[in-house]
């Protein structure tokens, strides 16, 4: 922790690899639980990059195979949408 080579897994919310591994070690068991505890995947890109990395870390930490990890849900909008587009 706090070392010079700290890696950001969720770039939008600046969540580090150490923070995500710590969440899993303290009991988070699914991508959604990791997200809710650390904010990884809650930023403007909605986990486009980090959700797969979080899945992989869950596999590594818990000894699971890909496919055994509960993934998080996809929701509208696909990209950020300006509220300007909602006209009366």
């Amino acid at each position: 922790m706090g070392s010079g080579d700290e890696k950001h897994i969720c770039r939008c919310e600046e969540v580090s690899e150490d923070e995500i591994r710590a969440a899993i070690r303290s009991g988070a068991r699914t991508v959604q639980e990791v997200k809710r505890w650390t904010r990884a995947g809650m930023g403007i890109c909605q986990g486009r990059t980090c959700r797969r990395l979080v899945e992989r870390m869950l596999c590594e930490e818990l000894g699971l195979k890909p496919g055994e990890v509960e993934v998080s849900s996809f929701r509208q909008p696909v990209r950020p949408v300006s509220l300007k587009s909602f006209e009366d």
Partner: protein
């Protein structure tokens, strides 16, 4: 695999975990069985408000005030931050009908000890400089607060785990049967748990759990769709709601108009009301709908467009802000708008703590204490008659 424990709690939402935390603190052995994951139901898909102003005067408001006190001590004792904040809240009023409804509501709340007032246009402008000119007045209470429900669940979970909690995921109950001195509950995970007490904290699914014992409760899922904005600086001093939202909670317009034979507008069909809160991270949560849609957890473009147009009407400045996410949750709703908290008559050791609808976060700390008291056979500090499961089950009990 069989195991035994003092208390089995069904549901790892905010209330199940609050009850677990409180019981663990009192030295009980506790297992929480959750059908999916932590916060998979309403508790992980809601906003962050501890809104005292929305509570009906009476037991609910008293409990909410008690809960707020508990939140202050929980913030100190829980093992992680819960982002508790007291920014105050305003309920925006747009016409004379809403004004008279809110005047009556505010008077009732004041008599219950809540500091709340109606403020005029100039005070509205001072607190919400960017609000629309269509707002003629507002309520204001400095005591309305907020908490991060996701961190609150994490904190209850970590605090209870330090004291021996076992949490089972993928563990919906399959059967619940009486045993000498308690209950035997078979779980979808294959495990059977014997316990002195069972607490049904399954939220919108609570009636399904009761049906394993041969009775039902009128707790149904009310879907609320919410929009999340990108992170922006705060645009006002308080969180805000609309009087229309309170009106739809108190006496749904749709129901009134339907009774009068009028066709429903899309706003009425979706039970649209305005709720607008800023999170610690700077995202605004913009809500929301209040729908009867069964257990369909989808969000849909029509509802999101209604929510988007509504927030722009109240805060035109948001035209240039992006929304980045939507979600929906099932508020566990009862026919009389009150939660169900109590032991089921004729089923000693089987307790229900569900049906909080939109008040689940606000009432979680007090629900934890009250249910722990009931499980221990102590007299709780509130008269829970109006919340008892028996009010829906008739004289004979379940």
């Amino acid at each position: 695999m069989n195991s035994s424990t003092d208390v089995l709690i069904l549901g790892a939402g905010v209330n199940g975990l609050s009850i677990a935390y409180e019981l663990c603190k009192r030295g009980k052995k506790v297992v929480v069985a959750e059908k999916a994951e932590i916060g998979a139901g309403a508790s992980g898909s809601c906003d962050d408000m501890i809104l005292l102003q929305s509570k009906k005067p009476g037991i609910l408001l008293e409990m909410a005030l008690g809960s707020l006190e508990l939140f202050r001590s929980l913030r100190e004792e829980l093992p992680c931050d819960i982002e508790l904040d007291t920014k105050g809240g305003m309920i925006l009023i747009e016409d004379e009908e809403q004004l008279s409804l809110m005047e009556g509501f505010v008077a009732g709340q004041k008599s219950c000890g809540l500091e709340v007032e109606i403020v005029g246009r100039s005070r509205v402008k001072a607190l919400q400089p960017l609000v629309s000119e269509s707002v003629i007045a507002s309520t204001y209470s400095a005591r309305d607060s907020q908490v991060n429900p996701l961190l609150l669940m994490k904190a209850f979970y970590l605090g209870a785990s330090e004291r021996g909690l076992r949490l089972l995921r993928g563990a919906a109950p399959v059967s619940i049967e009486p045993r000498a001195g308690g209950w035997a509950t078979r779980l979808a995970s294959g495990e059977e748990i014997e316990s002195g007490a069972v607490v049904n904290a399954a939220g919108a699914w609570a009636s399904q759990v009761c049906s394993l014992l041969g009775f039902e409760l009128p707790i149904i899922p009310r879907k609320g769709q919410v929009m999340v904005t990108e992170q922006i600086p705060p645009i006002g001093a308080t969180n805000v709601w609309s009087a229309k939202y309170i009106a739809s909670k108190l006496k749904p317009v749709a129901a009134r108009r339907e009774a009068a034979g009028a066709a429903q507008t899309p706003e009425e069909r979706y039970g649209l009301g305005f709720a607008f809160t800023s999170t610690h991270s700077g995202n605004y949560l913009v809500g929301s709908t209040r729908e009867n849609a069964g257990f369909d957890k989808g969000t849909d473009p029509e509802a999101l467009a209604l929510i988007g147009r509504q927030v722009r009407r109240f805060f035109p400045v948001l035209a240039n802000v992006n929304f980045i996410r939507s979600f929906a949750g099932f508020r566990p709703s009862t026919t009389d708008g009150m939660p169900v908290i109590g032991e089921v008559a004729g089923r000693p050791g089987f307790f229900v703590a569900a049906g909080h609808e939109g008040d689940g976060i606000a009432l979680a700390p007090i629900t934890g204490k009250l249910v722990a008291d009931l499980v221990e056979g102590r007299t709780p500090g509130y008269d829970l008659e109006k919340l008892s499961p028996g009010r829906f089950l008739g004289a004979k009990g379940a």
